[in-house]
Amino acid sequence: MSEPGGRACSSPLVGGAAEPTLMEISAPGRRAWSLPTLDVPERDLGLPESATHRPELPEVAERDLVAHFTRLAQRNFAVDLGSYPLGSCTMKYNPKVCDWAAEHPAFRNLHPDTPATLSQGALAVLVETEEILCTLTGMTRATFQPAAGAAGELTGLLVMRAYHDSRGRHPSTVLIPDSAHGTNPASVTLAGYRVRHLPSDSRGMVDLDALRAAIDDDVAGLMLTNPNTLGLFETDIVEMARLVHAVDGLVYYDGANLNAILGVARPGDMGFDIVHSNLHKTFATPHGGGGPGSGPVAVVERLVEFLPGPLATLVDGGYDWVMPRRSIGRVHGNHGNFLVVLRALTYMRALGGAGLRHVAERSVLNARYLQSLLPEEYALAYPAPCMHEFVVSVAGLKRATGVRAMDVAKALLDHGFHAPTVYFPLVVEEALMIEPTETESPETVEALAAAFAAIGAQAVADPEAVQSAPHTTPISRPDDALAARHPVLTWTTPTLDPGDLP
């Protein structure tokens, strides 16, 4: 092998050598950039605060820049390469026609401060998407400003707060099941509320008695995802909502799991007042390696006046920006992740009502089918019919072999699949949260089950082999403790060497 990355020449296709950083392949004076020469008379402006240092950016030729990022891309797994059963993340296939839409010059090159009269198409995109979203969730209006789910949560909670303020009440706690995603409690705190956790009962659902006991005038609201993070539908939801409403609390729907109920059931009908959706999950917009997402927040009629604004609204025949009467104000610098919304609209219009219901049906079918194919090493955390995802515990396997959930996840990578979500929700010991999504074929689901079975068998036969997995990936398990102990966050920090290993 030539040296790692072969100084901008070797390829992960062959041997998977590491890739040097851009700084390592940088050479003084080398360049990719070109700009037209200045075509106005230049003059000395003598501006204040002019630069004192030259930012140390890499200097590379376009050829090496391209090779670098092309090789980096080949060091990454993705939905386009294979199945990605990452629970709670809904890693479904992202249709290419949506990429086409997001590249559309009429939207891509549009400045956000273009007057509404000159950007009617863009406003129409927002209004059309809002209508579909509200129909699916049973809400009245929605804002697209939140850039992701967590931003949606905070926005929804600020709406909740504005609602209570408007009624002269100042309740201070928000109820959250112990199985909730981390962003929920974090958002609650940021919104100035206290979190009160609700335990799950033996069914893996919110313990109704515990909820009854927790309900009082200090309760601002309840935050819930349904199906919950165990993949179970909260069958008491209507009663739960009634209890919260009885003390004038609001019920918030975390839409991360909306995929399971599209066209089948609506948060609005369950009694929810505020609903955020993750377009980057349910509506097939790609995750982009971690973002951008889009977390629109939809609300019932009586909360519309508090929504962030302005909202694209039909005003005598044309679209215009309208600020809700008692808006909490802005939560994004512009109109949210607009091109992500455009992708979602493209997807929604392609599927239509029938296709959207198919999403729920097939995602639940795939999850149930996969669950039915798994051997007993993968014990269902709660024995109930799952929705679009399910959580198994390998606590038994761990006791028998020492092989943990993380080991199983890593071993799966060697089989050509992405790992499921591990150790979430926290209420399940050695949890594996598995979500096949509706875009995988039955054959893929069967191959996935076969891989789980093979790993289960190997865990018994040769636990060490599973504990040392993965073996065929570009790197083996990274030392996270070392990374935290010696943070190397930029290439100006000296890099680590094996001497730093414990």
Binding site: A18, T21, A51, P112, P115, T135, R161, H287, H358, V359
Partner: protein, 442 residues
């Protein structure tokens, strides 16, 4: 059309294996009142070609190809095709947050390089892997300051981008923070004294395009043991002083001009860098270098105990999904530009802005709103309502700028005009000529 592979035979086979008769049986356990009894009133499915026609029609309802002189954080800079080619690699586009480092070295290393370049750009030691956008990054910066100082007052320059001020306001109301706005005098912030703040927040250049006095702001902050927080224009960091060099504690930026099209304002990205002392308060993801079990260099998400999924209700920020793909685009563009290209793009933007300002000021009734030095964006006052002027200019093919009146009552007829290196001398001559006509007509 939908994108599920299942044939009717597949569905029958799978349902059969589960002992179910029809798809509806999958939902039998839903309570009666909850399961929908009727079909929702949703659009009918469309063939791919029909969907594309529909999107084309919507697109056609936007006025096409306006020559852009609007800015305010989102700018029409030159984006080389290579940025799009590399950023849109499906391995980047269709992967999730790189929690499984063994199969995510591509995204992780790209983000590590992004962090390194943003740190270099800001002249600060640490940058995170991106936030939602510039304005919301300002909010995260204020949160750090409040947590770091335990104070609840925030000094905000009137020159900070209005949307940033509004977002801080939205949040301050909920959190009971007191926001003290400091006025502009001839376009530059004058820091008047007052109770000790957690942070002093300003923009460089400010929303009116004017170059602020770094030392005045940083002294105002550090003199009161507050954090100096600046919103920087990333395209100017090759020509203007870097926040770190000026002594700022936190720098954030609307990163759109680097790697990302205007996109009607989103998705863009928030760039975020801090002084070393604030490392453990940084919101969002951080990618760190480490070694794998075989001693090979590897990248991984690090210092995760800061984050919501671990710290939960104690977390200082709730951000999870960020703007990774936009950050990768920014990294590719920054590497394409290099230090010289960045400086040249900034230099040309500034030179051209002054060229256009001169042209416009020769038009009767048009004048610069302020005497202070500006960079690549400037405010002019018009003898007519900017809203009408913008509409008339659009007829002539120009997006003339952004009206200032709403945010700056002292400039009822103010227009904010931005110029990038992409605008030609001809564009500017045409703009000036059209504006003269328009003003003559109204």
């Amino acid at each position: 059309m939908d994108f599920t592979p299942h044939t009717d035979a597949d569905v029958a086979r799978m349902l059969g294996a589960l002992g179910l008769a029809e798809s509806a049986d999958l939902f039998r356990h839903l309570p009666a009142g909850v399961a929908l009894a009727h079909e929702l009133a949703l659009p009918v499915p469309m063939a791919e070609l029909d969907v594309m026609r529909h999107i084309d029609e919507l697109g056609a309802r936007n006025t096409a190809g306006l020559c852009c002189f609007a800015g305010g954080g989102i700018y029409d800079h030159f984006l080389p095709p290579v940025v799009r080619s590399l950023t849109l690699r499906p391995e980047f586009v269709t992967s999730y947050t790189p929690y499984q480092a063994e199969v995510a070295q591509g995204v992780l290393q790209a983000l590590f390089e992004y962090q390194s370049m943003v740190a270099a750009l800001m002249g600060l030691p640490v940058a995170n892997a991106s936030l939602y956008d510039g304005p919301t990054s300002g909010l995260e910066a204020v949160n750090i300051a409040v947590a770091h100082t335990g104070r609840h007052i925030v000094w905000l320059s009137r020159g900070v981008r209005p949307h940033t001020r509004q977002i801080v306001g939205t949040f301050a109301r909920a959190r009971g923070l007191e926001v003290v706005e400091h006025p502009l005098v001839d376009g530059r912030t004058s820091w008047t004294d007052g109770p000790e703040p957690a942070a002093v927040v300003f923009s460089q250049p400010n929303h009116l395009g004017i170059i602020e006095d770094y030392d005045a702001a940083v002294t105002a902050a550090h003199g009161r043991a507050a954090l100096a927080i600046v919103e920087a224009d990333p395209m100017l960091l090759g020509v203007l002083r870097r926040p770190g060099d000026a002594g700022c504690d936190i720098a954030f930026a609307e990163g759109q001009p680097l790697g990302n099209p205007m996109s009607f304002g989103g998705p863009v990205l928030g760039m975020f860098a801090v002084a070393s002392g604030l490392l453990r308060r940084v919101p969002g993801r951080l990618v760190g270098e480490t070694l794998d079990r075989d001693g090979r260099k590897a990248y991984t998400l690090t210092l995760r105990t800061r984050e919501q999924d671990i710290r939960r209700d104690k977390a200082a920020s709730n951000i999870c999904t960020n703007q990774t793909l936009n950050a990768i685009a920014a990294a590719v563009h920054l590497a394409w530009l290099g230090p010289d290209g960045l400086a040249e793009a900034g230099r040309q933007s500034v030179q051209k802005a002054h060229h256009l300002a001169d042209l416009l000021c020769t038009i009767p009734g048009v004048a610069l709103a302020h005497g202070a030095a500006f960079a690549r964006e400037f405010a002019i006052t018009l003898p007519a309502d900017p809203v009408d002027v913008i509409a008339a200019m659009a007829q002539r093919g120009y997006l003339a700028g952004i009206p200032l009146g709403d945010d700056h009552p002292d400039l009822p007829n103010g227009l904010l005009v931005a110029v990038t290196e992409k605008r030609t001398a001809a564009d500017m001559t045409g703009y000036a000529a059209s504006l003269a006509e328009v003003l003559h007509d109204v």
